[in-house]
């Protein structure tokens, strides 16, 4: 976000900078700042890995309990070269994508419908709120019973998770539109179509994007549950399988893959956020006025 922000406000700031420094200096400055931001994010993980490796190498810790980072990295390379990792990852990403698409799409649709009319809110919202609180693990057996061990039950389980965050947030976003701007829309004689496309959707966009981010996170969580409850491929299966053979290093590889892909998809949405919400003028945590 901060990088994108920097690019957005570059207009007036760049002009000031140009006056102060030479062009060349500015480029180096921004590059240096970016590297600094990257390093800040790495401090904690590197420190933890260092201590972890140190403890693993110099004290007697069982590999089944806690393999060292080096050992985990080694099996990670192994999994890549055999092609096993990619095969598992591919099917996992496919499940997550389809489940997310289905769940988030329906969530957005119903969030918008319920947001627009209080009658549909009265009819549908109580039911959705009830369903929302049911945990994945409670319905997983039912889903297997109804939809079998195949892809359908997994995709539906992921979709169930992805549905609610975006549903709740789209609904909130629409209800949060400033009534003063509605008055403007009345004075300007907006058609119903323009009321939605020019006022309500843009105003609700911050919430909708937040919903998408949360939904993506939940989709990954749903994926783990879906793959752990019974499958023959996928990252979740890889973890299950490795655990049974006490290959803890592979369990770690699976966990790290989940974390990295999860973070990566989140970053994608944030890029989208920076693009769609560049009109916003909010505090970005970087108090440069001091």
């Amino acid at each position: 976000m901060s990088k994108a922000r920097a690019a957005i406000v570059a207009g007036p700031q760049a002009a000031i900078k140009k006056a102060r420094y030479s062009q060349n200096n500015t480029v180096w400055n921004t590059l240096f700042k970016r590297i600094l931001i990257g390093i800040r994010g790495l401090i904690l993980p590197v420190l933890i890995l260092g201590i972890w490796q140190f403890v693993g190498s110099f004290y007697d810790v069982s590999d089944t309990l806690l393999p060292t980072p080096a050992a985990i990295f080694h099996s990670f390379l192994d999994l890549i070269f055999t092609g096993e990792l990619w095969a598992h990852l591919k099917i996992s990403i496919w499940r997550a994508a389809v489940g997310f698409g289905l769940g988030a799409g329906l969530g957005l649709l119903f969030g918008v419908i319920v947001g627009f009319s209080s009658r549909s809110e009265q009819v549908m919202d109580p039911t959705f709120q009830m369903l929302r609180t049911i945990p994945h693990l409670a319905v997983a057996p039912l889903f297997i019973l109804w939809f079998g061990f195949g892809e359908l039950s997994k995709v539906l389980l992921i979709a169930k998770g992805a549905f609610f965050p975006i549903y709740v947030n789209a609904f909130l976003g629409i209800r949060g539109v400033d009534s003063k701007l509605f008055e403007v829309a009345r004075v300007l004689e907006f058609s119903r179509f323009h009321l939605i496309t020019k006022l309500i959707l843009p105003a609700a966009m911050p919430n909708i994007l937040l919903g998408i981010r949360l939904s993506l996170g939940v989709a990954w969580l749903g994926l783990v549950v879906a793959e752990l409850m019974g499958s023959s491929e996928g990252i979740g299966y890889m973890i299950m399988d490795a655990r049974q053979f006490s290959n803890t290093d592979i369990v770690f590889v699976g966990i790290i893959i989940f974390a990295v892909v999860g973070k990566w998809t989140d970053s994608l949405v944030r890029v989208l956020e920076a693009k769609l919400l560049k009109w916003r003028d909010n505090f970005n945590g970087d108090d440069s006025s001091r």
Binding site: K180, L181, E183, V184, R186, V187, L188, E189, F190, S191, H194, K198, L199, P202, A203, M205, L277, K278, W279, R280, D281
Partner: protein, 249 residues
């Protein structure tokens, strides 16, 4: 377009038993191309009256005629400028002016460019509202209303939140627009100098209940000077009128 306000009454429910009379039998005829300012202390119902003329407030008794036609509701023919600019924060200046109209339409494009010129915002077409000062944002709001060729432009303390310099500048911009576009203007304010500086006729309202207490014709040529003797005389006249109404209450 002329505006006729005929015996308008408006009451707000204060509590179960008690009603608050906000407007009590207000009558006013505003001629075509006239510049009217309505002045009065807060709570005299001047903003309510403006909202009624705009069609935003429908819970009144009496009638409003615009160009001889009965008012049916809010619309682009009664352009409204709010106290705050109320721009869409996600649209750039030019898109805010166009709003629901498409800039791809060459006729709209031409008019928008022309209006940006009139409100003196050249170079800011692609800026977002957060990048604008209060005065600039209010000028965008004025351009947005003007694009729809309103029969009458209603302004509800449009410069109230601005500093003195910006306010004077915008008053000149407004006079400029009025000269060019010949739009009937109704401006509500609590700034005495502003109302005398702009108006053909100055309407004084007094509160509890909201009534028109006096209408003053100002036939001084534009641009007016605030230091002018006649300007000061009118100022005194209005102040005396307010003092009178203070004595009554």
């Amino acid at each position: 377009m002329s505006v006729t306000i005929k015996s308008v009454h408006r009451t707000f429910k204060k509590s179960q038993e008690e009603d608050l009379i906000v407007l009590d039998d207000v009558n006013l005829h505003i001629k075509k191309e006239e510049f009217i300012t309505i002045i009065g202390p807060s709570g005299c119902g001047k903003s309510t009256l403006l909202k009624i003329i705009a069609g935003l407030d429908r819970k009144f008794h009496g009638s409003i005629l615009i160009g001889g036609q009965e008012l049916t509701g809010p619309g682009i023919k009664q352009g409204f400028i709010f106290q705050e600019h109320r721009l869409f924060p996600w649209l750039t200046v030019e898109k805010n002016i166009a709003a629901d109209l498409s800039l791809n339409d060459s006729e709209i494009r031409r008019k928008v460019d022309e209006l940006i010129e009139i409100v003196r915002l050249k170079g800011f077409e692609k800026a977002y509202p957060r990048e604008l000062s209060g005065g600039m944002a209010q000028r965008v709001a004025i351009a947005r209303a003007l694009l729809r060729n309103p029969d009458v432009l209603l302004l509800d303390e449009p410069f109230g939140a601005l500093d003195a310099f910006t306010r004077t500048h915008l008053q000149d911009v407004l006079l400029d627009i009025w000269k060019k576009k010949k739009t009937t203007m109704i401006l509500v304010t609590h700034d005495l100098d502003e109302s005398i500086y702009l108006a053909n006729r100055l309407v004084i309202m007094t509160p509890r209940p909201g009534r028109i207490s006096q209408i003053i014709e100002i036939d001084m040529p534009y641009p007016r000077k605030k230091t002018d003797v006649r300007f000061q005389a009118i100022r005194q006249q209005v102040l005396t009128e307010f003092e009178k109404s203070e004595l009554i209450h």
